[in-house]
């Protein structure tokens, strides 16, 4: 896409809570999404996304064509609604003042440094941003939007009807997201960052405390969520989210790097909370839909990063469930951009707000072929590349892919991926633990075709082929455990449509068409952001000792002259 003066742009911005991001939306329906972490190389970077906006201005947008900037929340309401009540700790107030100084209240000042022209600045409520964002990924018109997260604009969730009228709001003391963060902290991980690790550990425990938690801590009753505030701190932002009663009932916080999987109590408690949260969300949706089986439930908010929860919902509910590729806060910059479009009445003049999006709305990957000092081309066409990829998979080798349009979610879908044969135990172990340096308890996701899906998972209801779909699926066959399966025999399959229209890189489509089952993980070392630029690709190949890279129909080698 070239910079043209005929296009007008809206920039949606999300920052201040978790990972920051921005989305550019044009009046011609073009959309580009960027996560700030891709450019700053700081995983989960929460700062104002100035690198991303600067990237957009340098590559796609003329400064004078920015018509509106839309933020994903109301900064003042957000700042005021937690930690400002009387009789909290002095540290809480100090933190609030520090947060004020660095908060999104100064968004206008930050944007002025990048966009010199006159533009409108609008603010969309936090949960409405989530709902508007997720709406862009569904074709269905008969829908309900369910948003559940930790906290934002003084709420922890909301439910909207198909016209975005509010059906229900959830207060901060009903926050399932904060409960999950608190459990993450208790298990010795970083809250608001490592929740996915806790979810993986849940499979190693048994929900032994499910009854106790369901009766005393989290329950769904009379159409709403109840959380016992004796266990969790929802008010003081400077203190732990856990209160002494929690430690009394479940034991003290894990502080040393012992073998977590051998700690039965921790695994059982995590498993029990996972179970109860699943149960509450299930009940909530059942109450919402009652007899209306044809309504699609579009779920967003950080809680729906939990693929086990999404898998359970999809298994037990009769309604269709949809989770966008980026359900958390970064994804809501998409919603903010569409809010800006509605504000500008764009939906009346063109189709920019009625297009159904997919996961591939990031920028195009950079051209590595113009850096011969870094990369040496070793195949010259797709057929040769296909032959080489087959050889590599046969040798239990791993190759990287950097091709096409970047995917936007936290999960790699092929554009920036590390690939190996999912049926090879050696390759899967090597990729997960040696190359990616991930914890052994975290399974790798797979990509496969419909035929193989049926073969492995049977007639599981979870056969939605949305590329961005995140649910866990259970293995139905109990013979010879497959190397890509998690401890509880589940997996997160990515069903690949091998048609020409699919945006998956050609090499992966060809392999999957030939019945390969591929392990696919993001192209980065665990703890780093996904690769974005040529420099990141080269550095990651050297750091992970990956020899082969697929890019634009050809294979390349990193020229490293025995660096290490």
């Amino acid at each position: 896409m070239q910079k043209t003066s005929e296009r007008e742009w809206i920039i949606g911005v999300s920052y201040g809570h978790h990972e920051s991001s921005c989305t550019a939306l044009s009046n011609f329906g073009d959309i580009i999404f960027l996560r700030e972490e891709w450019l700053t190389r700081v995983k989960l970077d929460f700062r104002f996304p100035k690198s991303s906006i600067n990237y957009l201005i340098q590559n796609y947008i003329k400064n004078e064509n920015v018509k509106t900037v839309a933020h994903f929340q109301k900064p003042l309401i957000n700042w005021l609604s937690i930690g400002t009540s009387k009789n909290l700790s002095p540290e809480n107030y100090l933190l609030k003042i520090r947060q004020f100084k660095n908060s999104d209240l100064f968004l206008a000042k930050e944007i002025r440094k990048l966009i010199k022209q006159k533009y409108n600045l609008v603010y969309c409520p936090h949960h409405l941003s989530h709902a508007l964002s997720s709406a862009q990924f569904s074709k269905n018109k008969n829908v309900i939007y369910l948003v559940l997260d930790g906290y934002g604009d003084g709420l922890s969730g909301a439910i909207f009807d198909k016209n975005f009228n509010t059906i229900k709001e959830f207060q901060p003391n009903q926050s399932l997201g904060l409960v999950y963060s608190a459990i993450t902290e208790w298990a010795g991980f970083v809250p608001n960052e490592d929740e996915y690790k806790v979810m993986a550990i849940a499979a190693f425990g048994k929900p032994k405390f499910e009854k106790f938690i369901g009766e005393n801590i989290i329950r769904f009753d009379k159409d709403t969520i109840y959380i016992n505030e004796d266990y969790f701190n929802f008010k003081d932002v400077s203190k732990s989210a856990l209160l002494p009663k929690f430690f009394k009932d479940f034991g003290s916080k894990r502080t040393k790097s012992d073998d977590l999987l051998k700690n039965k109590n921790v695994c059982d408690v995590i498993s029990s909370f996972q179970y109860c949260i699943e149960h509450v969300v299930l009940k909530l949706i059942q109450t919402l839909t009652k007899q209306k089986k044809d309504i699609q439930i579009i779920c967003s908010g950080g809680l729906f990063h939990n693929s086990v929860l999404v898998g359970k919902l999809n298994t037990y509910l009769k309604n269709e469930i949809l989770v966008p590729p980026c359900p958390g806060d970064p994804g809501s910059s998409i919603g903010a951009a569409f809010f800006g479009a509605i504000f500008n009445n764009w939906n009346n003049s063109n189709k920019s707000t009625t297009k159904c999006l997919d996961s591939f709305i990031g920028p195009k990957v950079e051209d590595i072929s113009i850096y011969p000092k870094l990369f040496k081309q070793i195949t010259s066409n797709l057929n040769d590349s296909f032959e080489l990829s087959k050889k590599l998979l046969k040798k239990d080798d791993i190759f990287a892919v950097y091709d096409g349009i970047m995917e936007i979610g936290p999960r790699a879908l092929g554009s920036r991926s590390l690939i190996c044969d999912a049926l090879s135990k050696t390759a899967v172990k090597k990729l997960n633990e040696i190359i990616k340096k991930r914890e052994s308890f975290r399974p790798l996701a797979i990509m496969l075709n419909q035929k193989n899906f049926k073969k492995i998972f049977g007639n599981n209801k979870n056969t939605i082929s949305n590329l961005y779909w995140m649910a866990q699926v259970n293995w139905t066959n109990d013979k010879n455990k497959l190397p890509f399966l998690h401890h509880d025999n589940s997996s997160r399959p990515q069903l690949v449509n091998t048609s020409k229209a699919s945006k998956i890189p050609d090499i992966l489509k060809m392999l999957i068409d030939k019945n390969y089952i591929l392990s696919n993980t993001s192209f980065n070392i665990a703890g780093d952001p996904m690769v974005f630029s040529v420099e990141d690709v080269y550095a990651n190949m050297i750091r992970m000792n990956i020899k082969y890279l697929y890019h634009n129909k050809c294979f390349y080698e990193a020229v490293d002259e025995n660096y290490f």
Binding site: C124, P125, L128, T166
Partner: protein, 215 residues
């Protein structure tokens, strides 16, 4: 003695150096050779970070990771860096990297005086040689240009680092923190609670569009 060193912070500081060197590498895309050299410099910093992280795991056995954004941005100083992530001035950037390398060398000297473990000393020695190589490489590049283009920046960064030492004294930090708490308490005590209870508007789409400019 080795467990008295804050390996975690060291590891994070090396990682932030690596990150900043990668920002610098993007400014050299039109010079194949330097581009690659700077990427390799960045890779060295990442390698140093993983060496320190290994010792953090060995001696402290805590659960923290260094790639956490709060550690990199707040603790390891990415947020207070005098170099903005969009910095385009090559001379300013290179001067910053040059002074940073010398600062790292200064630390290494301090560390070697308290560390007795031969293996760690060997690792620190390797890191020291890397830092020396980086510093001389950056200076070699800068010396291709008239001195007035960069000497001012070097001086500024040296002065800045000199004063940063005092900032790191515990007593100063404690004083800053206590006065901050005192002020925060006064502010929140003087302002009536009712001021914080904003009337929230409904969050449905139609009302939100009408109130789109409200913060």
């Amino acid at each position: 003695m080795s467990n008295k060193i804050d390996w975690k912070r060291l590891s994070a500081v090396e990682m932030t150096s690596g990150i900043e060197v990668f920002y610098l590498s993007k400014l050299f895309r039109n010079n194949d050779l330097l581009h690659k050299k700077i990427i390799k410099h960045g890779l060295d910093e990442y390698r140093h970070s993983s060496i320190f992280y290994k010792y953090n795991k060995k001696f402290n056995k805590n659960l923290s990771t260094i790639s956490s954004p709060h550690i990199l941005i707040n603790d390891a100083g990415l947020d207070k860096s005098p170099i903005d992530r969009l910095e385009k001035n090559i001379f300013k950037f290179c001067s910053y990297v040059y002074v940073g390398e010398y600062r790292a060398l200064e630390f290494n000297n301090q560390a070697t005086s308290i560390i007795k473990d031969k293996k760690i000393l060997k690792d620190i020695n390797i890191i020291e040689n890397d830092e020396l190589g980086h510093a001389s490489g950056v200076m070699k590049y800068l010396e291709k240009f008239p001195k007035y283009k960069y000497i001012f920046y070097i001086l500024i960064f040296k002065i800045r680092y000199f004063f940063q030492r005092f900032k790191n004294f515990k007593i100063i930090r404690k004083l800053q923190n206590n006065s901050g708490i005192f002020m925060a308490k006064i502010v929140f005590k003087l302002i009536p609670a009712s001021l914080f209870n904003l009337k929230k508007n409904p969050i449905d789409l139609n009302t939100s569009i009408k109130n789109a400019k409200d913060i």
